[in-house]
Protein backbone atom coordinates (compact mmCIF):
# COMPACT_ATOMS: atom_id res chain seq x y z
CA UNK A 1 0.00 0.00 0.00
CA UNK A 2 1.47 3.35 -0.97
CA UNK A 3 1.35 6.33 1.33
CA UNK A 4 -1.16 8.09 -0.91
CA UNK A 5 -3.48 5.07 -0.92
CA UNK A 6 -3.40 4.94 2.85
CA UNK A 7 -3.86 8.70 3.20
CA UNK A 8 -6.77 8.73 0.79
CA UNK A 9 -8.56 5.90 2.57
CA UNK A 10 -8.23 7.70 5.89
CA UNK A 11 -9.60 10.89 4.39
CA UNK A 12 -12.55 9.08 2.83
CA UNK A 13 -13.39 7.31 6.08
CA UNK A 14 -13.19 10.64 7.86
CA UNK A 15 -15.25 12.85 5.53
CA UNK A 16 -17.88 10.24 4.84
CA UNK A 17 -18.09 9.26 8.50
CA UNK A 18 -17.69 5.56 7.69
CA UNK A 19 -18.03 4.19 11.18
CA UNK A 20 -16.51 0.79 11.93
CA UNK A 21 -14.41 0.80 8.75
CA UNK A 22 -10.61 0.90 8.78
CA UNK A 23 -8.28 1.56 5.82
CA UNK A 24 -7.43 -2.13 5.62
CA UNK A 25 -11.13 -2.92 5.03
CA UNK A 26 -11.05 -1.00 1.76
CA UNK A 27 -9.33 -2.88 -1.04
CA UNK A 28 -7.49 -0.80 -3.63
CA UNK A 29 -9.47 -2.21 -6.55
CA UNK A 30 -12.80 -2.52 -4.79
CA UNK A 31 -15.72 -0.50 -6.19
CA UNK A 32 -16.39 2.49 -3.98
CA UNK A 33 -19.98 2.92 -5.10
CA UNK A 34 -22.98 0.64 -5.20
CA UNK A 35 -22.17 -3.01 -4.58
CA UNK A 36 -18.65 -2.27 -3.31
CA UNK A 37 -18.27 0.11 -0.39
CA UNK A 38 -21.85 1.26 -0.98
CA UNK A 39 -21.28 4.97 -1.47
CA UNK A 40 -23.97 7.06 -3.16
CA UNK A 41 -24.43 10.27 -5.14
CA UNK A 42 -24.21 12.49 -2.07
CA UNK A 43 -20.88 10.88 -1.18
CA UNK A 44 -19.68 11.61 -4.71
CA UNK A 45 -20.24 15.31 -4.09
CA UNK A 46 -18.29 15.05 -0.83
CA UNK A 47 -15.42 13.38 -2.73
CA UNK A 48 -15.42 16.18 -5.31
CA UNK A 49 -14.84 18.68 -2.49
CA UNK A 50 -12.14 16.46 -0.99
CA UNK A 51 -10.30 16.44 -4.33
CA UNK A 52 -10.48 20.24 -4.48
CA UNK A 53 -9.64 21.00 -0.87
CA UNK A 54 -6.82 18.52 -0.34
CA UNK A 55 -5.33 18.04 -3.80
CA UNK A 56 -6.30 21.20 -5.66
CA UNK A 57 -8.20 19.29 -8.31
CA UNK A 58 -11.40 20.91 -9.54
CA UNK A 59 -14.06 18.59 -10.93
CA UNK A 60 -17.10 20.53 -11.99
CA UNK A 61 -18.82 17.79 -13.92
CA UNK A 62 -20.30 15.12 -11.63
CA UNK A 63 -20.29 12.68 -14.57
CA UNK A 64 -16.51 12.87 -14.79
CA UNK A 65 -16.36 11.85 -11.16
CA UNK A 66 -17.87 8.51 -11.97
CA UNK A 67 -14.82 7.15 -13.74
CA UNK A 68 -12.35 8.74 -11.34
CA UNK A 69 -14.16 7.50 -8.24
CA UNK A 70 -14.38 3.88 -9.38
CA UNK A 71 -11.89 2.66 -6.81
CA UNK A 72 -9.01 3.80 -4.63
CA UNK A 73 -6.70 2.79 -7.47
CA UNK A 74 -8.37 5.04 -10.04
CA UNK A 75 -8.55 7.92 -7.60
CA UNK A 76 -4.87 7.61 -6.68
CA UNK A 77 -3.91 7.51 -10.35
CA UNK A 78 -5.92 10.62 -11.12
CA UNK A 79 -4.64 12.50 -8.07
CA UNK A 80 -1.00 11.64 -8.81
CA UNK A 81 -1.35 12.96 -12.31
CA UNK A 82 -3.41 16.09 -11.64
CA UNK A 83 -2.70 17.30 -8.14
CA UNK A 84 -1.74 20.93 -7.68
CA UNK A 85 -1.08 20.68 -3.96
Amino acid sequence: MTALNEELKRKIIDVLNLEDITPTDIKDDEALFDEGLGLDSIDALELIVLMDKDYGIKLTDPKLGKSIFQSIETMVAYISENRTK
Binding site: V15, N17, E19, L39, I42, E46, V49, K53
Partner: protein, 342 residues
Protein backbone atom coordinates in the same frame (compact mmCIF):
# COMPACT_ATOMS: atom_id res chain seq x y z
CA UNK B 1 -36.62 10.01 23.08
CA UNK B 2 -36.13 12.46 25.91
CA UNK B 3 -33.87 13.61 28.71
CA UNK B 4 -35.56 10.84 30.69
CA UNK B 5 -34.51 8.20 28.20
CA UNK B 6 -36.85 6.30 25.94
CA UNK B 7 -40.58 5.82 26.51
CA UNK B 8 -41.33 2.87 28.81
CA UNK B 9 -43.90 1.91 31.47
CA UNK B 10 -41.74 3.11 34.39
CA UNK B 11 -40.84 6.30 32.52
CA UNK B 12 -42.21 8.64 35.19
CA UNK B 13 -41.31 6.64 38.28
CA UNK B 14 -37.67 6.76 37.29
CA UNK B 15 -37.72 10.38 36.18
CA UNK B 16 -35.12 12.86 37.43
CA UNK B 17 -35.72 16.58 37.67
CA UNK B 18 -33.66 18.77 35.37
CA UNK B 19 -31.51 21.34 37.15
CA UNK B 20 -29.08 22.62 34.58
CA UNK B 21 -29.17 25.04 31.67
CA UNK B 22 -28.81 22.50 28.87
CA UNK B 23 -29.58 18.81 29.20
CA UNK B 24 -29.11 16.35 26.38
CA UNK B 25 -31.46 13.46 25.73
CA UNK B 26 -30.23 10.01 26.71
CA UNK B 27 -29.20 8.36 23.48
CA UNK B 28 -29.86 4.66 23.04
CA UNK B 29 -27.93 2.48 20.61
CA UNK B 30 -29.07 3.24 17.09
CA UNK B 31 -27.70 0.04 15.61
CA UNK B 32 -30.21 -1.54 13.29
CA UNK B 33 -32.34 1.61 13.09
CA UNK B 34 -31.45 2.10 9.44
CA UNK B 35 -28.78 0.89 7.05
CA UNK B 36 -25.24 1.78 8.16
CA UNK B 37 -24.88 3.80 4.96
CA UNK B 38 -27.87 5.95 5.88
CA UNK B 39 -27.21 6.23 9.58
CA UNK B 40 -23.64 7.52 9.30
CA UNK B 41 -24.85 10.87 8.00
CA UNK B 42 -27.68 11.39 10.45
CA UNK B 43 -27.75 14.10 13.09
CA UNK B 44 -29.04 13.44 16.60
CA UNK B 45 -32.42 14.88 15.69
CA UNK B 46 -32.78 12.51 12.77
CA UNK B 47 -31.74 9.51 14.83
CA UNK B 48 -33.94 10.47 17.75
CA UNK B 49 -36.88 11.08 15.44
CA UNK B 50 -36.49 7.82 13.62
CA UNK B 51 -36.07 5.93 16.86
CA UNK B 52 -39.17 7.46 18.45
CA UNK B 53 -41.18 6.96 15.24
CA UNK B 54 -40.25 3.31 15.17
CA UNK B 55 -41.16 2.93 18.82
CA UNK B 56 -44.57 4.57 18.33
CA UNK B 57 -45.37 2.38 15.33
CA UNK B 58 -44.08 -0.63 17.25
CA UNK B 59 -46.91 -0.25 19.75
CA UNK B 60 -49.52 -0.51 17.00
CA UNK B 61 -50.43 -2.74 14.12
CA UNK B 62 -49.57 0.04 11.65
CA UNK B 63 -46.44 -0.64 9.62
CA UNK B 64 -46.72 2.10 7.01
CA UNK B 65 -48.85 5.06 8.07
CA UNK B 66 -51.03 6.95 5.58
CA UNK B 67 -49.25 10.20 6.41
CA UNK B 68 -46.29 11.55 8.35
CA UNK B 69 -46.64 14.95 10.03
CA UNK B 70 -43.99 16.54 12.21
CA UNK B 71 -43.46 19.72 14.15
CA UNK B 72 -40.12 21.34 14.96
CA UNK B 73 -39.23 24.83 16.06
CA UNK B 74 -35.59 24.95 15.08
CA UNK B 75 -35.43 22.07 12.62
CA UNK B 76 -32.17 20.35 11.99
CA UNK B 77 -29.95 22.87 13.78
CA UNK B 78 -26.91 20.64 14.03
CA UNK B 79 -26.51 20.39 10.26
CA UNK B 80 -27.51 24.00 9.82
CA UNK B 81 -24.80 25.07 12.30
CA UNK B 82 -22.26 22.84 10.61
CA UNK B 83 -22.84 24.26 7.15
CA UNK B 84 -22.87 27.82 8.44
CA UNK B 85 -19.61 27.39 10.36
CA UNK B 86 -17.97 25.75 7.42
CA UNK B 87 -19.06 28.66 5.23
CA UNK B 88 -17.57 31.16 7.69
CA UNK B 89 -14.35 29.22 8.27
CA UNK B 90 -13.56 28.52 4.65
CA UNK B 91 -14.96 31.76 3.25
CA UNK B 92 -17.52 30.03 1.04
CA UNK B 93 -15.08 27.42 -0.25
CA UNK B 94 -14.87 23.65 0.02
CA UNK B 95 -18.47 23.30 1.13
CA UNK B 96 -19.96 19.85 1.06
CA UNK B 97 -23.66 19.29 0.54
CA UNK B 98 -24.54 16.75 3.22
CA UNK B 99 -25.11 19.20 6.05
CA UNK B 100 -26.93 21.59 3.70
CA UNK B 101 -29.31 18.87 2.53
CA UNK B 102 -29.97 17.82 6.09
CA UNK B 103 -30.43 21.36 7.35
CA UNK B 104 -33.88 21.41 5.75
CA UNK B 105 -36.67 21.45 8.33
CA UNK B 106 -38.50 18.48 6.84
CA UNK B 107 -35.47 16.20 6.96
CA UNK B 108 -36.75 13.94 9.75
CA UNK B 109 -40.21 13.46 8.24
CA UNK B 110 -38.62 12.82 4.85
CA UNK B 111 -36.12 10.34 6.25
CA UNK B 112 -38.87 8.38 7.98
CA UNK B 113 -40.86 8.35 4.73
CA UNK B 114 -37.81 7.06 2.92
CA UNK B 115 -37.21 4.39 5.54
CA UNK B 116 -40.83 3.22 5.54
CA UNK B 117 -41.42 3.80 1.80
CA UNK B 118 -44.35 5.94 2.87
CA UNK B 119 -45.57 7.89 -0.15
CA UNK B 120 -48.45 9.62 1.60
CA UNK B 121 -48.93 13.16 2.86
CA UNK B 122 -45.73 14.45 4.45
CA UNK B 123 -45.66 17.90 6.01
CA UNK B 124 -43.51 19.64 8.63
CA UNK B 125 -44.76 22.55 10.71
CA UNK B 126 -42.28 25.06 12.08
CA UNK B 127 -43.92 27.63 14.28
CA UNK B 128 -42.01 28.08 17.51
CA UNK B 129 -43.80 26.71 20.56
CA UNK B 130 -46.88 25.71 18.56
CA UNK B 131 -44.98 23.68 15.96
CA UNK B 132 -46.14 20.40 17.45
CA UNK B 133 -49.74 21.54 17.91
CA UNK B 134 -49.81 22.74 14.29
CA UNK B 135 -48.81 19.22 13.30
CA UNK B 136 -51.42 17.82 15.67
CA UNK B 137 -54.11 20.04 14.14
CA UNK B 138 -53.05 18.94 10.66
CA UNK B 139 -53.35 15.34 11.86
CA UNK B 140 -56.86 15.94 13.22
CA UNK B 141 -57.91 17.54 9.91
CA UNK B 142 -56.70 14.50 7.96
CA UNK B 143 -58.32 12.00 10.28
CA UNK B 144 -61.66 13.75 10.85
CA UNK B 145 -62.18 14.50 7.16
CA UNK B 146 -61.90 10.80 6.46
CA UNK B 147 -58.95 11.33 4.13
CA UNK B 148 -56.72 9.04 6.17
CA UNK B 149 -57.02 6.25 8.67
CA UNK B 150 -53.74 6.69 10.50
CA UNK B 151 -51.04 9.30 10.81
CA UNK B 152 -47.56 9.17 12.30
CA UNK B 153 -47.25 12.41 14.27
CA UNK B 154 -44.06 13.70 15.84
CA UNK B 155 -42.31 16.62 17.49
CA UNK B 156 -38.54 16.90 17.26
CA UNK B 157 -35.97 19.44 18.37
CA UNK B 158 -32.28 18.80 18.84
CA UNK B 159 -29.56 20.56 20.77
CA UNK B 160 -27.01 22.16 18.49
CA UNK B 161 -24.04 23.72 20.20
CA UNK B 162 -23.92 26.98 18.31
CA UNK B 163 -27.67 27.62 18.11
CA UNK B 164 -28.04 26.97 21.84
CA UNK B 165 -25.04 29.18 22.61
CA UNK B 166 -26.78 31.99 20.71
CA UNK B 167 -30.02 31.41 22.62
CA UNK B 168 -28.02 31.50 25.81
CA UNK B 169 -26.36 34.77 24.77
CA UNK B 170 -29.82 36.21 24.10
CA UNK B 171 -30.96 35.22 27.59
CA UNK B 172 -33.44 32.56 26.53
CA UNK B 173 -31.43 29.76 28.13
CA UNK B 174 -30.11 30.05 31.65
CA UNK B 175 -26.39 30.57 32.17
CA UNK B 176 -24.25 27.45 32.26
CA UNK B 177 -23.26 26.29 35.72
CA UNK B 178 -26.49 27.31 37.46
CA UNK B 179 -28.37 24.59 39.31
CA UNK B 180 -31.95 25.78 39.21
CA UNK B 181 -35.14 23.83 38.71
CA UNK B 182 -38.48 24.98 37.32
CA UNK B 183 -39.74 25.55 40.86
CA UNK B 184 -36.71 27.21 42.42
CA UNK B 185 -35.72 29.23 39.38
CA UNK B 186 -34.51 32.71 40.24
CA UNK B 187 -32.37 33.74 37.31
CA UNK B 188 -33.79 34.76 33.94
CA UNK B 189 -34.09 32.22 31.16
CA UNK B 190 -35.15 28.62 31.10
CA UNK B 191 -33.53 25.18 31.33
CA UNK B 192 -33.39 23.88 27.76
CA UNK B 193 -33.20 20.34 26.46
CA UNK B 194 -34.13 18.32 23.41
CA UNK B 195 -36.29 15.39 22.43
CA UNK B 196 -38.33 13.52 19.89
CA UNK B 197 -41.84 12.39 20.69
CA UNK B 198 -43.87 10.37 18.22
CA UNK B 199 -47.47 9.23 18.30
CA UNK B 200 -49.34 6.80 16.14
CA UNK B 201 -52.71 8.45 15.57
CA UNK B 202 -55.69 6.66 14.08
CA UNK B 203 -59.41 7.07 13.53
CA UNK B 204 -60.25 3.78 15.19
CA UNK B 205 -59.83 2.84 18.81
CA UNK B 206 -57.58 -0.18 19.19
CA UNK B 207 -56.43 -2.34 22.08
CA UNK B 208 -53.29 -0.26 22.36
CA UNK B 209 -54.98 3.16 22.31
CA UNK B 210 -53.97 5.53 25.09
CA UNK B 211 -56.78 8.02 24.65
CA UNK B 212 -58.47 10.38 22.23
CA UNK B 213 -57.39 13.83 21.12
CA UNK B 214 -60.63 15.80 21.00
CA UNK B 215 -59.47 19.19 19.80
CA UNK B 216 -56.59 21.63 19.56
CA UNK B 217 -56.55 25.43 19.40
CA UNK B 218 -53.73 27.81 18.45
CA UNK B 219 -53.39 31.51 19.14
CA UNK B 220 -50.38 33.62 18.13
CA UNK B 221 -50.51 36.13 20.95
CA UNK B 222 -52.37 36.78 24.19
CA UNK B 223 -52.15 39.16 27.09
CA UNK B 224 -52.38 37.53 30.49
CA UNK B 225 -55.97 38.71 31.14
CA UNK B 226 -57.02 37.12 27.81
CA UNK B 227 -55.94 33.62 28.82
CA UNK B 228 -59.30 33.06 30.49
CA UNK B 229 -61.39 33.87 27.42
CA UNK B 230 -59.07 31.78 25.23
CA UNK B 231 -59.86 28.86 27.53
CA UNK B 232 -63.58 29.61 27.75
CA UNK B 233 -63.96 29.81 23.98
CA UNK B 234 -62.19 26.48 23.59
CA UNK B 235 -64.34 24.78 26.23
CA UNK B 236 -67.52 26.22 24.72
CA UNK B 237 -66.56 25.03 21.24
CA UNK B 238 -66.08 21.57 22.65
CA UNK B 239 -69.21 21.74 24.77
CA UNK B 240 -67.48 20.90 28.02
CA UNK B 241 -67.75 22.52 31.45
CA UNK B 242 -64.63 23.67 33.31
CA UNK B 243 -65.63 21.38 36.16
CA UNK B 244 -65.42 18.37 33.83
CA UNK B 245 -61.70 18.91 33.27
CA UNK B 246 -60.03 16.48 35.66
CA UNK B 247 -56.45 17.63 35.16
CA UNK B 248 -54.68 20.45 33.39
CA UNK B 249 -51.11 19.97 32.22
CA UNK B 250 -49.36 23.32 32.35
CA UNK B 251 -46.16 24.38 30.67
CA UNK B 252 -44.51 25.95 33.77
CA UNK B 253 -40.87 26.47 32.85
CA UNK B 254 -39.48 28.62 35.64
CA UNK B 255 -39.52 31.88 33.70
CA UNK B 256 -41.32 34.41 35.83
CA UNK B 257 -43.26 36.01 32.99
CA UNK B 258 -44.16 32.77 31.26
CA UNK B 259 -45.47 31.25 34.46
CA UNK B 260 -47.91 34.12 35.02
CA UNK B 261 -49.98 32.80 32.10
CA UNK B 262 -50.12 29.35 33.67
CA UNK B 263 -51.20 30.83 37.00
CA UNK B 264 -53.93 32.77 35.21
CA UNK B 265 -55.26 29.71 33.45
CA UNK B 266 -55.12 27.65 36.61
CA UNK B 267 -57.35 30.17 38.33
CA UNK B 268 -60.01 29.55 35.71
CA UNK B 269 -60.07 25.88 36.64
CA UNK B 270 -60.31 25.88 40.45
CA UNK B 271 -61.51 22.28 40.69
CA UNK B 272 -58.97 20.84 38.28
CA UNK B 273 -55.74 19.14 39.32
CA UNK B 274 -52.76 21.10 37.98
CA UNK B 275 -49.80 19.15 36.61
CA UNK B 276 -46.49 20.12 35.02
CA UNK B 277 -43.77 18.38 33.03
CA UNK B 278 -41.06 20.77 31.85
CA UNK B 279 -39.02 19.98 34.99
CA UNK B 280 -38.62 16.57 33.33
CA UNK B 281 -38.58 17.41 29.61
CA UNK B 282 -36.80 20.76 29.66
CA UNK B 283 -37.86 23.57 27.35
CA UNK B 284 -37.63 23.28 23.57
CA UNK B 285 -40.07 24.28 20.89
CA UNK B 286 -41.78 20.93 20.50
CA UNK B 287 -41.58 20.00 24.21
CA UNK B 288 -45.36 20.22 24.59
CA UNK B 289 -45.43 16.84 22.83
CA UNK B 290 -43.97 15.56 26.10
CA UNK B 291 -47.06 17.02 27.77
CA UNK B 292 -49.27 15.04 25.41
CA UNK B 293 -47.28 11.89 26.18
CA UNK B 294 -47.85 12.53 29.90
CA UNK B 295 -51.58 12.94 29.26
CA UNK B 296 -51.64 9.73 27.26
CA UNK B 297 -49.92 7.92 30.12
CA UNK B 298 -52.48 9.15 32.65
CA UNK B 299 -55.44 8.23 30.46
CA UNK B 300 -54.13 4.76 29.81
CA UNK B 301 -52.99 3.83 33.30
CA UNK B 302 -55.60 5.95 35.13
CA UNK B 303 -53.04 7.15 37.61
CA UNK B 304 -51.03 10.31 37.95
CA UNK B 305 -47.32 9.84 38.52
CA UNK B 306 -46.59 11.88 41.68
CA UNK B 307 -43.68 13.63 39.98
CA UNK B 308 -46.17 15.50 37.75
CA UNK B 309 -48.15 17.20 40.55
CA UNK B 310 -47.68 20.97 40.50
CA UNK B 311 -48.87 21.49 44.09
CA UNK B 312 -50.71 19.85 46.96
CA UNK B 313 -54.06 20.28 45.23
CA UNK B 314 -54.41 16.65 44.27
CA UNK B 315 -57.83 15.31 45.26
CA UNK B 316 -58.11 11.56 45.57
CA UNK B 317 -59.73 10.90 42.22
CA UNK B 318 -60.09 7.43 40.87
CA UNK B 319 -60.82 8.22 37.26
CA UNK B 320 -59.16 10.65 34.91
CA UNK B 321 -61.37 11.33 31.92
CA UNK B 322 -60.75 14.79 30.48
CA UNK B 323 -57.30 16.32 30.45
CA UNK B 324 -56.38 19.73 29.12
CA UNK B 325 -52.86 20.73 28.02
CA UNK B 326 -51.93 24.40 27.90
CA UNK B 327 -48.66 25.70 26.53
CA UNK B 328 -47.08 28.91 25.31
CA UNK B 329 -43.59 30.38 25.22
CA UNK B 330 -42.70 33.97 25.97
CA UNK B 331 -46.32 35.01 25.61
CA UNK B 332 -46.53 33.66 22.07
CA UNK B 333 -47.93 30.56 20.42
CA UNK B 334 -50.57 29.64 22.95
CA UNK B 335 -52.09 26.21 22.50
CA UNK B 336 -54.83 24.21 24.15
CA UNK B 337 -55.21 20.48 23.59
CA UNK B 338 -58.12 18.49 24.98
CA UNK B 339 -57.73 14.74 25.39
CA UNK B 340 -60.01 12.18 26.97
CA UNK B 341 -60.31 8.49 27.66
CA UNK B 342 -61.60 6.37 24.84
Amino acid sequence: MTTQGVWRPDFFSEAREIDQAITTADQPSYKGLASPAAIRRMSRGMKMGMYAAQQALGETAVTVPDAIITGTGLGCSEDSDKFLRSMWENDEQFLTPTSFIQSTHNTVAAQIALQLSCKGYNVTHVNGASSFESALLDTLLLLTSGEHKNVLLGGIDEIAEQTYAFLQAAGYIKASGLRETVKNSLSPGVNYAEGAQFFSMGVDQTETSYGEVVDVALQNELDIPEAGSFLQDFLTTNDIQPTAIDAVILGYNGDENDDLFYNALQQELPLTTPLYYKHLSGQFDSCSAFGLAAAAFILKYQTIPPVLYWNEKNPAKTTWKNILIYNHYRGKDHTLVLVRTC
